[in-house]
């Protein structure tokens, strides 16, 4: 258990800059989820913390100790790999005991710790088996067990659930969260799955092309996305973006598609992008008129995909509670309170100034 500080971290592979300036501070016991599209540098960041890669510049400090120059074996970090990376020639017991033996613990102590971790993860019955005799979910548990048994300063998770089927993934997600809370070990968790990110993290770090796009709690990220990239990344289906410009002294947006959307508060800017989530579009009289392309009933709610009449390029999604009868066209209003305004050029959020 320890704090983690990352200062001015950069990493280049040859001429390719993978990470450009990462600064982070984790408090003891915090779980930070690093999320982003593939190739955004999230796995590289994790491997830098692990010591499996060397940073180009910057420092990594764990519990006050600068580990930047240390080998992974000296950092006292446990990592859960995407493909589990269990030792195929060792039993489950030996897989979990390996790190303890290296630390020179006594035989009795090793057995006690492994048994304890195995009981926690429901692996008691499987200790004598080899990894190839286990199911995917069981291997995942062994990988977790190998990490927790050592009582490390830091947990690193590298997309640990991506090889599991959907049902197991939901179950393991909850288990990882409970386990991490219970053990109180500072953790970094890398995923490309936004649901995992939202549910697991105390805070999220959204990486975009090697830069931190936003570092905040899941709800902050959802409610106040820092830019259009984050806004489009979090939430399903993704947020709708409508071009327009600020009018009436910054208190309303005149959409290029026609309607005038009044805003809460006043903003400064010119050309903007208005972001609105599908669930924040409500049927109305004088809003946007859509030509409906597709209706997707999801049971408790229904998704309607359509294009703004007259402008074929702009496609929009609308989410309704309950069922929707077949439609040809649909007119929706933007709920002013839920509109997000971003600068059209930079994509950055423009907050209201009272």
């Amino acid at each position: 258990m320890a704090t983690l500080d990352i200062k001015g971290l950069r990493k280049s592979f040859g001429a390719t800059e993978v990470l450009r300036q990462i600064d982070l501070s984790l408090i003891d016991g915090e779980m930070l989820v690093i999320v982003g599209a593939s190739g955004c540098g999230k796995s590289t960041l994790l491997r830098l913390v692990a010591g499996l890669e060397q940073p180009t510049t910057g420092r990594i400090v764990i519990g006050g100790r600068d580990v930047t120059a240390l080998d992974p074996s000296e950092r006292d970090i446990a990592m859960v790999f995407q493909n589990y990376a269990l030792y195929p020639h060792m039993s489950v017991f030996d897989n979990m005991a390996y790190g303890l033996r290296i630390r020179g613990l006594s035989r009795g102590e090793i057995a006690r710790k492994v048994d304890e971790a195995a009981a926690m993860l429901g692996l008691d019955e499987l200790l004598a088996r080899k990894p190839r005799q286990l199911s995917g979910g069981q291997r995942q548990r062994v990988a977790m067990g190998r990490a927790i048994v050592r009582d490390p300063k830091l947990f690193l998770f590298d997309e640990p659930l991506s090889n599991l089927d959907a049902k197991l993934r939901v179950q393991m997600r909850a288990e990882i969260r409970k386990l991490q809370r219970r053990l109180g070990v500072t953790s970094l968790y890398v995923t490309h799955d936004q649901v995992e990110a939202m549910t697991l993290g105390d805070r999220l770090l959204i990486l975009h092309e090697g830069r931190p796009a936003q570092l905040a709690t899941p709800m902050e990220v959802f409610e106040c996305p820092a830019d259009t990239y984050v806004a489009g990344f979090v939430g399903s289906p993704t947020m709708n973006f409508l071009p327009g410009r600020l009018v009436q002294d910054g208190t309303a947006v005149l959409l290029d598609a026609g309607p005038l959307v009044p805003l809460l508060g006043r903003r400064i800017g010119g050309a903007v992008t208005l972001g609105i989530r599908p669930e924040h579009l409500t049927p109305g009289a004088q809003g946007l008129t859509l030509t409906v392309d597709l209706i997707e009933p999801l049971g408790s709610e229904t998704l309607v995909h359509g294009r703004i009449a007259g402008i074929t390029a702009e496609s929009l999604a609308v989410k309704f509670a309950g069922a929707v009868p077949p439609l040809e066209t649909l007119t929706v209003d933007v709920q002013s309170g839920h509109a997000h305004i971003f600068d059209a050029a930079s994509g950055k959020r423009i907050n209201s100034i009272g």
């Binding site: 692990a50 010591g51 499996l52 080998d71 992974p72 074996s73 000296e74 006292d76 970090i77 446990a78 990592m79 790999f81 995407q82 493909n83 990376a85 269990l86 030792y87 195929p88 020639h89 390996y98 790190g99 290296i102 630390r103 190998r146 050592r150």
Partner: protein, 293 residues
């Protein structure tokens, strides 16, 4: 992926297989059958007449202390050459597997000796170790080491072992390198995160995961050392001094070709053939089991 090709009719597949079948027939089955037949006969000194003697040749062989000496010598030679060639190759492969500068050149250079004919490799060793013309041989003698493998049996054994092992290192190196590269990187990384370093990581993770490769190479190396080293040994020492480097294949050659005792020589070949069949059967069985599990 199913890449089976279905032929219409019998003719084409048979024609395609024919060259290999003919080669095997003329260069293996025919001489092998001849050897089995000869091993059951005894011939007069001029090859004019023969008598069927049953298993007498084999009986004589196993009563002959010289044959048993040669057998023990061969086992010692095979194991030493295999262990030597495999250890050196493994060490080189571990280095080649690392991220080092000039890795491509290093690998290519290591593979070259494999392309050299056995007799040529023997000549290379002569240039280095011959007490009169060899660079190292002359240097040793000048510095008070009585190095002469034509007189000293142990030195001769050491020399044929080194020459034989040297030639096999390339082959082993290629397989070990491929074996090392097929170990998932994440498993090695997991071991690093678990705190395992250097020799310990190699001993507990890398080496056990290489065991299929190691076993395969052990069989191949033993067979190589037992049979394919004829050229190297014959060019270097002809089995001498005395019989100090006379392995079983050299003895087969000496008894059959030089001493013209066709019956005994054939019996020895048959014994060797049974040996190879046994080793191969064990290997197939073991490998087959592995793929099933």
């Amino acid at each position: 992926m199913d890449r089976r090709t279905v032929f219409n009719g019998r003719l084409l597949p048979v024609v395609l297989l024919l060259p290999q079948l003919l080669l095997t027939l003329f260069f293996f089955y025919w001489p092998a059958a001849e050897a089995v037949w000869s091993s059951l006969t005894t011939q007069d000194a001029f090859g004019q007449d023969w008598v069927f003697v049953g298993l007498d040749n084999f009986q004589d062989l196993f009563d002959d202390p010289l044959y048993l000496d040669s057998a023990v010598r061969t086992v010692f030679f095979c194991l030493s050459v295999s262990v030597l060639a495999m250890c050196i190759a493994l060490a080189l492969a571990v280095f080649a597997d690392r991220q080092i500068a000039g890795r491509g050149v290093y690998r290519t250079l290591l593979i070259w000796p494999y392309a050299i004919a056995p007799a040529m490799s023997a000549v290379l060793f002569l240039f280095v170790l011959n007490p009169r013309v060899g660079l190292l041989g002359r240097w040793l003698n000048r510095h008070g080491v009585a190095w002469d493998y034509t007189l000293n049996g142990s030195q001769a054994m050491l020399m044929v072992m080194s020459a034989s092992a040297w030639k096999q290192v390339s082959y082993n190196f290629i397989f070990f390198l491929a074996g090392l590269q097929s170990i998932p990187r994440a498993v090695i990384e997991a071991a690093r995160m678990d705190g395992a370093k250097g020799w310990r990581r190699f001993r507990t993770i890398t080496f056990p995961l290489l065991s299929p490769t190691t076993f395969f190479l052990l069989v191949v190396n033993v067979v190589y050392a037992a049979f394919d080293t004829f050229g190297t040994i014959y060019a270097l020492t002809q089995g001498g001094p005395g019989k100090d480097t006379e392995t079983l294949v050299i003895k087969v050659f000496r008894d059959g070709v030089i001493n013209q005792d066709i019956g005994s020589s054939s019996a020895q070949s048959v014994v060797l053939m049974l040996g190879v069949i046994l080793i191969t059967a064990i290997q197939f069985r073991f490998m087959g089991k592995r793929t099933l599990s």
